[in-house]
Symmetry: C2
Subunit: 506 residues, 2 copies
């Protein structure tokens, strides 16, 4: 198999843009080409999550061909939700390694800011499993529930969690301040973090990546350059939280990382810096664990100790990450590679402790349902410049799945929860959501009757409502209240019964 090299790389400034999606793609392409030893390409591979709904455009790959004046050149779009850009990079690598194309232009892009936040959130929420979506779960809500579970599992106090998340947000905003392509280029303070509004407990606005317009581009080629793509790995996981074995780790990242490391012949400790998918600050922490940089449950301490800062032992998101660079969903996976290429070539941005030779990018599709890891090395450092040797993949035999929907009711236990302050259309804040395990062992997402008394492990009553579930925390006081309500509700019927009996007697 032939090696795959990285030639030019470039991107648009991320943020709110007046350009159309096609114009953003074209601008990124020209930025990548302008600094590239390879100026001619055989095909275009585009990553975009949902141009149909974000901008009403279809057949986007062919449209970009036209905008670049290369009519006739093959082009296709790859989609894996929010990791679409990374998936386009991987598909393009395969195309080059196969010998079918010699040089390929890979693009990632999305345009989102022209929509209202609620409209964009609704589109992004289509990746959420249906039962969970129906309860009002949003991406921040699910991320928050994972965070609460992480806190409980690794025994962090609320203050410890807050400090760690704040530290990640501050670090990424500081890094973004040195990145001229970042959406946010100002450092934030601890006070600003604490003053930012709660989106879904314990996550604040500064824990969430923004809505962004932008595009990024890289040229992959069989011609030898200074950078080689030495490791690729992809993994999938269930869409629904309730289908997962773990709520504090993403199997999809672990699978992708293991494969990429094996292909590159590297260990996590040999990576000099990483760009990871920090759509939410806790996901950066979890990713650094899933990628093997830190042991499970220790990522938060590493972040707090500054190990992932630019001057730390393993800089994470020196570009500012999705948090500060911005997150035009389909673009992010390619933008990570643009950052990686720039850094490995000695480009600008916040200064790292040591000159990097090997970097890793990790991208997440949906709620950790379709994740990719890419390792890029300086050709003079890489072992794999003599050709690809992918590790044997874990083969699987597809089989018919029984899809018995959970039919929970009665009593259960809270596995994790959040209180959502920014709710989707049709749901009033504050909205309590919990993942509840029924006595029968089924996990279901449920709305809370109120937002008090929420705690992992707490017992609840669970009942169906409109195809979803509602839970009520069991407490002595509530039990008395419920009994009283029940009694009051029963009074008219009782009175009626008494009346009828009297009439019968008469």
């Amino acid at each position: 198999m032939g090696s795959v090299y990285l030639a030019g790389a470039g991107m648009t400034k991320f943020g709110k843009s007046a350009d159309t999606l096609v114009e953003l793609f074209a601008a990124a392409a020209l930025a990548a080409l302008s600094a590239s030893p390879v100026e001619e390409v055989d095909a275009l591979y585009l990553g975009a999550m949902n141009p149909e709904e974000f901008t009403g455009e279809s057949n986007i790959a062919a449209q970009v061909v036209e905008a670049l004046g290369v009519s006739g050149v093959p082009a296709l779009r790859v989609e894996t939700a929010s990791s679409a850009g990374a998936a386009a990079v991987h598909a393009a690598c395969q195309a080059v390694a196969s010998g079918y194309y010699r040089s390929v232009l890979v693009l990632g892009g999305e345009k989102m800011t022209h929509l209202s936040t609620s409209a964009a959130t609704r589109i992004l929420a289509e990746v959420i499993e249906q039962q969970e979506r129906r309860c009002g779960a949003t991406m921040p809500a699910l991320a928050a529930m994972i965070t609460e579970r992480y806190r409980q599992r690794y025994r962090l106090s609320r203050a410890e969690l807050e400090r760690a998340l704040c530290r990640v947000a501050m670090k990424n905003h500081l890094n973004g301040a040195h990145n001229p392509f970042a959406q946010f280029q100002k450092p934030i303070t601890r006070e600003m973090y604490l003053a930012s509004k709660l989106v879904s407990t314990p996550l604040r606005l500064y824990d969430c990546s923004p809505m962004t317009d932008g595009a990024a581009a890289v040229i992959l080629t069989a011609e030898k350059t200074d950078l080689v793509v030495s490791g690729l790995g992809q993994g999938t996981g269930p869409a629904g939280l309730r289908e997962r074995k773990s709520f504090t780790s993403f199997d999809a990242t672990r699978i992708a990382a293991e494969r990429a490391y094996r292909m590159a012949g590297l260990l996590p400790k040999q990576i000099d810096f990483a760009e990871v998918h920090d759509a939410f600050t806790p996901f950066e922490i979890i990713s650094t664990e899933d990628l093997g940089f830190f042991p499970a449950g220790k990522g938060w301490q590493a972040a707090e100790a500054g190990k992932t800062a630019a001057d730390g032992e393993l800089p994470v998101n020196p570009s500012g990450g999705l948090k500060a660079r911005g997150h035009p969903v389909g673009a992010s996976g390619v933008a990570q590679i643009v950052e990686v290429a720039g850094r490995l070539r000695g480009g600008g941005g916040i200064k790292l402790k040591r000159e990097p030779r090997r970097a890793l990018a990790q991208s997440t599709g949906g709620l950790g349902a379709n994740n990719l890891v890419t390792i890029v090395e300086r050709a003079d450092a890489a072992r794999t410049q003599n050709g690809w040797a992918p590790p044997p993949p874990a083969r699987a035999k597809p089989r018919r799945q029984k899809t018995a929907p959970a039919d929970a009711g009665g009593e259960g236990t809270i596995e994790t929860f959040t209180v959502l302050y920014v709710t989707p259309d049709g749901f009033l804040p504050p909205l309590a959501l919990a993942l509840v395990r029924s006595r029968a062992g089924d996990l279901v997402m449920a709305q809370g009757e109120d937002v008090a008394h929420l705690k992992i492990g707490r017992e609840v009553y669970l009942r169906r409502l409109d195809g979803g579930y509602v839970f009520t925390v069991k407490s002595h006081l509530r039990q008395v209240q419920e009994a009283l309500k029940e009694l009051v509700r029963g009074l008219p019927a009782l009175a009626h019964k008494t009346r009828r009996r009297k009439e019968e007697v008469r």
Copy 2:
């Protein structure tokens, strides 16, 4: 480069289905696996045009992984509008040839029939260039305009065109009657064809492929089987009719075909049968020319002479094609390969004149904007079983495009036209549409003031209206009318002028 072989292939029955899109994908996958020597796969490659809008689902690749119980296995979706299935096949071939994966499950699917025809048509119409869409152009309207131009260029009488189109429709319905997976399994008569309603002159309902639910699957592998994928080619072209050099041929198909033939080392005459993208009957005729089976302008005669019938010298769409098998957009490109595999293995369906050893499939994305050609051969017949040797692609250097929108007005000439009887929401039938070349040489799509006097080459007046264009056919009578109107319109101004002059005189 390693060779790519075809293992199992299967599909759901096409038509109206009560299953969800994910269930359709899973059923097709299991059909392909049940008859496959390769039962374990390393990854899933899905083709789907627009599950987000057709069924409100995102991250569909990860969803199908779950439905097949192979959690963790990498999966991605490929999209090139209506050729998405074929593009997924090509991307998967590249992945296998690169050695990155050994065996890959390729799926194509779409679910459309649960929507109203107008809702589904609106989604499909997103591939249409915006100025043309704004005039009310639909896919059948654009296909009709290409057909009218073909008729004029190759000097067919209306009766000759009608006979040729009818012949294609009857052939494909007859073929479909032998295909248990086809949506329509009944032959149609000439009388039925002529009685079917006009959709957009000269195209009738029986010239158009239907709305369909369905999925298809093939397994591609590096392990030697009886069938080898020996040729792959892809090409693109402008979305807009008005951007094209030719209205009677698709450059994207020609580019794709040339590349696929060169890769397989074959000439068109060595192909034993073909599955082509007959979304509209005239497109089958044009494809047989673009693929080199018949000279340009001779495809209609070949069809009429029965050369493309099952017992003809080059059977085309023995499966029934999109016309009778049905057209769940993202599924069609994979379904063609399923049909090709079945036939090359001696499977059922309408009997062909001779036992086939080499077959070609051609798929069209949008209005010929992103087309793919795939050649599959029996391994004992193929020259390429010792590995891939793709021809050198036509490299292109992307450049900044000037996007000066046409600003036509004044006088012009009809290049082609149609009268649309099934109009999109907001447009009343009958709607005349014409591609008009202005005196300045710009091509614009315009709505007609009425449906009379339409003819290629006729002179028209062109004026802007609501960001679009309206045309009026120049006729002597009309010229007199216009002059009179102009005069009447001028009268108040004239009176005013006269009054002012009188006042000045006073």
